[in-house]
Structures are given as structure tokens and as C-alpha cells.
């Protein structure tokens, strides 16, 4: 339970003093995702403007293909040069953390467990055709599969949250 509370507390307490809200981030993120897909050739597939999983897959597989001559799958949008969303997010967050003096190294509690979580989430996201951001983007685009995927994601979050609460209180 401590893990869940730790994760919840910063969002509940810090948003009163930070100027950028989650609503602003949501609006800006959606606008950039739609504009990137419609005006800047981040397609096909449709609704591909921002995705942490698919874009990370494209970046990793394109790099391995270029280095080793393999033929791992990349999306058509990344055939010539890969999309760079994961690099951009890391750079942007690093810039924000440095300027707000929130950057500090914290040693991991369970590095192997989080490494495995990363593997599992990436495999599930590629199976679903997108991470939580792209599933929501596909839902906004009106794609039936995106709506089903995002509904299943919501069910997964709800079940995991209830399970964590039950585990903490029993």
C-alpha cells in the first residue's frame, strides 16, 4: 500500500503549487499528437502522432536493423528515419527536472521487478496496438479497436487498484 500512496501523494499535493496542470498537459499532448499525424507525416498507421510503446519499438528496431542488417518490424512512418518521441520525452523531462531542481538519483528497490514490468508492458502494448496514450488517441479518432483497447485498459487499472487496496487492508 505504501507504494500506491507514494505514487498518489505527489499528484495530490504538488498540483497546487505547480503552474502546469494535468488538464493543460492533456490538451497540449492531444493537439501535438493530432497535428503530428495530420501535418507532419507521422503516419501510417492512423492516429500515430504520439505513442511511447510503438515509437520506442520503431526506434529500437530501426537502430538494430541499421546496425546488424536484421529485419525487425518498424511502422511505415519510421522506415527511413525513426520517430524520436521517447528521446524527446526523456530530454524534455530532464530539462524540466533540472530547471526545477527536482533531479536526483534514487536507488531502486526492486530493479529486476521493474525491468520485468517494462518487458511485460511493452509486449502487452504492442499486442494492443499502442500504449495508454495511443489507445486514448485511437479512441478519440473513433476507431472501434482503440475504444475496446482503452476500455480493457481501464478495466485493468481498476482491477489492479482494487487488488492493491485489498492486499494492503487485509
Amino acid at each position: 500500500m505504501a507504494t500506491v500512496i507514494d505514487a498518489v501523494t505527489p499528484a495530490r499535493t504538488d498540483h497546487r503549487r505547480v503552474r502546469v496542470t494535468a488538464t493543460m498537459t492533456g490538451i497540449a499532448g492531444a493537439l501535438m499528437a493530432v497535428v503530428a499525424g495530420s501535418l507532419f507525416d507521422v503516419r501510417p498507421p492512423d492516429a500515430y502522432g504520439i505513442c511511447m510503446a510503438c515509437h520506442a519499438r520503431d526506434l529500437v528496431n530501426w537502430t538494430i536493423n541499421a546496425a546488424a542488417g536484421s529485419e525487425l518490424t518498424v511502422a511505415p512512418a519510421s522506415l527511413v528515419v525513426p520517430v524520436l518521441t521517447p528521446i524527446g520525452v526523456l530530454l524534455g523531462a530532464l530539462l524540466a527536472a533540472r530547471t526545477s531542481r527536482e533531479f536526483r538519483w534514487q536507488q531502486p528497490d526492486h530493479p529486476v521487478k521493474t525491468f520485468i514490468y517494462g518487458i511485460v508492458v511493452m509486449n502487452c502494448a504492442l499486442l494492443a496496438g499502442g500504449c495508454s496514450i495511443r489507445l486514448l488517441l485511437r479512441t478519440g479518432a473513433g476507431e472501434p479497436l482503440g475504444i475496446m483497447g482503452f476500455g480493457a485498459l481501464g478495466a485493468g487499472v481498476a482491477l489492479a487498484t482494487v487488488w492493491l487496496r485489498w492486499k494492503a487492508t487485509r
Binding site: 505514487a7 495530420s38 507525416d41 524527446g88 536526483r104 511493452m122 496514450i133 488517441l137 482491477l159
Partner: protein, 139 residues
Amino acid sequence: MIAAVATLVAGVVLGYLGQRSRMCFVGGIRDFILVRDGYLLRGLVAFGITAWLAFPLMTAIGAAGVGPFAAPDLTTIILTACGGFGVGYVSTLANGCPFRQHVLAAQGIVSSVTYVAGFFAGAVIFHLWAAPLLLRLLP
């Protein structure tokens, strides 16, 4: 090349805003169920509504739109639902969506750095082993 530059710029802006706002795309649902806090959930809803409005707007100004979408077959529906459920369930256990984990990794949280390393490794694992195995098992 234009797609790479556009996604890099969009990523930097989104990463900056995400770090300042603590945005998480699974945290909104989790926080609301757990403590009835709607701060992150409002960001999630704002993203969905903005995308829903912006796609037709892009089509109206003559830019490339989306769809029409073909009716999916049952196998694809089941795989998408299983994948979406897995993303939601495991992301909640991992304390954040992939986007939030990238932001935390850039803040120096080593647990999130190992998560991102596993996330990148997962792409190779999926295409080398998981996808071929699924294709062999599915009808």
C-alpha cells in the same frame, strides 16, 4: 525526416509538461478509485476530448484525416482487449504508465530507468519471440 523532427519536438514539449504536471495516463483512473482525486483524471479526459475534436478539425481544414476503419475480426478484438488489460494492470503495479516512467527515469529514479530498459528490450523480445509464437498458436 520531418516525422522524426516533429516527434522529437513534440516529445520534448510533452516531457517538459509531463514532468511539471505529474501527468500519468493510468494514474488518473487509479487515483480516482483509490482516493477520489480527479486531478490526473481531468488530464486524461482533456486528452481524449481534445483528440476527438481535433481529428475532424484537421479533416475540415484539408489535412490528412483518419479512417474509415475496417470492422475488426474476433481474434484482433480479443488480442487488443488482452493487450489493453495487460497494459492497465501491469502499469498500475509498476506505479505509472510508460510515459510517466520515462519522465521519472529522466528525474533520476533508477527503478524507472530499469523499467525503461526493460521496455526497450521488450520491443525486441516481442518481435523475435512473442509475435512468432502467437502467430503459430492462433488459427
